[in-house]
């Protein structure tokens, strides 16, 4: 479980996060949603230590992360897998080398064992046989799936996903969403997805934390989201005509 308490973060005079708290449980898909500039990616980066919050704490199963030194943070990070918005695959490495990279760095497995793990991860994301391709040869959806395969290579306890559907067609988006949900349930990972995609919210949002102007405005599940009377959340969720029309059916 990951628990955040009273997270504050500013960039100069601009206070992006104004005291965010929440609990993200394992085995369920936790979503952080909000409009552009609401602070969701900043919150994610504070949680994984790419940004340092001015105030507040982040606890990984009771282990306080923000006050840890470099070596202690590395130990936690070995338990983290992350899929970046742009996939962040290493351009100079093939698919196989990308997925094998964390295994090379942190395990003493033989090449055969590592290759077996790579093939298993590729199979898991339906990319069998694509080992030798380079990132430049992959489509957007394939890059995301390789990113997921790399993220799960080390059997992470915590999985972070930043905007998994950005730049993808609706069909591929659903495939990625379902893959994230399956992996979360299968490996009981604490999964946190940052998104503003309403299909993801309605499809996989077991726990949803809604941010607006740097504050937590609402939390609940996808089943509850359609019946809330929080104006800011309704404005966000039902902004499109399609969602407005579909609201009564939820």
């Amino acid at each position: 479980m990951i628990e955040i308490k009273d997270i504050h973060k500013s960039f100069g005079d601009n206070e992006v996060l104004k005291g965010i708290s929440g609990e993200f449980k394992p085995g369920v898909t936790n979503l952080i949603i909000g409009g552009s500039g609401s602070g969701k990616t900043t919150l994610l980066k504070c949680m994984i230590g790419l940004h340092h919050p001015e105030q507040g704490s982040v606890e990984y199963d009771g282990r306080e992360f923000t006050t840890m030194n470099f070596e202690e943070k590395i130990e936690i990070r070995k338990e983290i897998g992350m899929l970046f918005q742009g996939s962040a695959l290493f351009d100079s490495m093939s698919v196989e080398e990308n997925i094998m990279f964390p295994l090379n760095m942190f395990t003493e497995q033989s090449r055969k064992e590592k290759l077996e793990r790579v093939n298993f991860c590729l199979e898991r994301v339906n990319l069998e046989g694509k080992n030798k391709l380079f990132p430049a040869e992959l489509s957007g959806g394939m890059k995301k799936r390789v990113g997921i395969a790399r993220a799960i290579a080390m059997n992470p306890k915590y999985l972070f996903v930043d905007e998994p559907n950005s730049g993808l067609d609706p069909k591929t988006s659903i495939v990625i969403d379902e893959l994230i949900k399956e992996l979360t349930e299968e490996y009981n990972t604490t999964t946190i997805v940052v998104t503003h995609d309403m299909n993801s919210v309605m499809g996989i949002g077991d726990y949803i934390l809604f941010l607006h102007e740097g504050k937590k405005f609402w939390e609940g599940s996808n089943k509850e989201i359609a019946h809330t009377d929080v104006q800011e959340l309704n404005d966000f969720v039902f902004a499109s005509r399609f969602m407005k029309a579909a609201k009564d059916k939820f």
């Binding site: 990070r77 992350m82 962040a88 290493f90 090379n104 760095m105 942190f106 972070f160």
Partner: protein, 244 residues
């Protein structure tokens, strides 16, 4: 580089020299960088050094036209200029352009495409993994390139001088072998070592802290070459002052 940048540069170097996660992987990266910096620059350094040596000989011969000065001086002056200044400094400036811009744009692109963030999330010391192999390759391969440059510059002087008739082969050979002080080689190698460090670490710093997109990566690459060249010249003066 202002004081804030210099402070950040020192902090980055501190992170670079942290204990590597896995020596085997770093070793592989070091050999790859040695190939890029050393083998990849052989042709360029060879051409530049040979022509500079030839031109130097012609210019020395042009300036020392006097019956009171023996022509063997042409070889001596060319030898000492090549060893002490031209080979280390010109090679370093050329390499700063070739290697410095490549290092800066490679690391800068990795920064803007979140590849460095990905390394950090995996628990890898990204400055160490990305920069240390480049620095080690720089401080080992640049001195080797400079040794080759010295040899080719003196050889270029021989070819240029004898082809033009500015000096006879015997006079030139006598010049380069008379009163040779081996300490000049030590000075040149110290310079090459320092320049190798600058050529790799300064561009790495510029690339590592890029913010923005393609335009900023290009700007960082230009800044890396300019700052490296100025730092090379400043260090050239300091090393020369200290060792000669």
């Amino acid at each position: 580089m202002n004081f804030t940048n210099f402070g950040r540069y020192l902090l980055l170097l501190k992170a670079v020299f942290r204990r590597p996660e896995k020596f085997k992987i770093y070793l592989k990266a070091i050999f790859k960088q040695m190939d890029f910096i050393g083998v990849g620059s052989l042709g360029l350094i060879a051409i530049i050094s040979t022509f500079i040596g030839a031109v130097m000989t012609l210019q020395i011969a042009f300036q020392l036209v006097s019956d009171f000065i023996p022509k063997t001086i042409i070889g001596s002056v060319n030898r000492d200029s090549s060893i002490l200044e031209l080979s280390p400094t010109i090679s370093a400036i050329v390499l700063a352009g070739k290697i410095g811009s490549a290092i800066s744009s490679e690391i800068g692109t990795m920064r803007v495409s979140e590849q460095i963030d990905a390394l950090e999330i995996m628990g890898i010391n990204s400055p160490g993994y990305l920069i240390l192999p480049k620095i080690i390759a720089g401080i080992t391969m640049v001195p080797l390139l400079v040794i080759m440059s010295m040899f080719l510059s003196i050889t270029g002087g021989y070819i240029g001088g004898t082809l033009s008739g500015a000096v006879t082969p015997a006079e030139y050979v006598q010049g380069i072998t008379t009163d040779f002080n081996p300490y000049t080689i030590v000075v040149a190698l110290v310079k090459a070592f320092v320049f190798g460090f600058i050529i790799t670490s300064v561009p790495a710093y510029e690339g590592f802290y890029v913010k923005g997109g393609a335009l900023e990566v290009a700007q960082a690459s230009t800044r890396a070459v300019v700052v490296s060249c100025i730092t090379i010249l400043a260090c050239d003066y300091i090393v020369t002052q200290l060792l000669l």
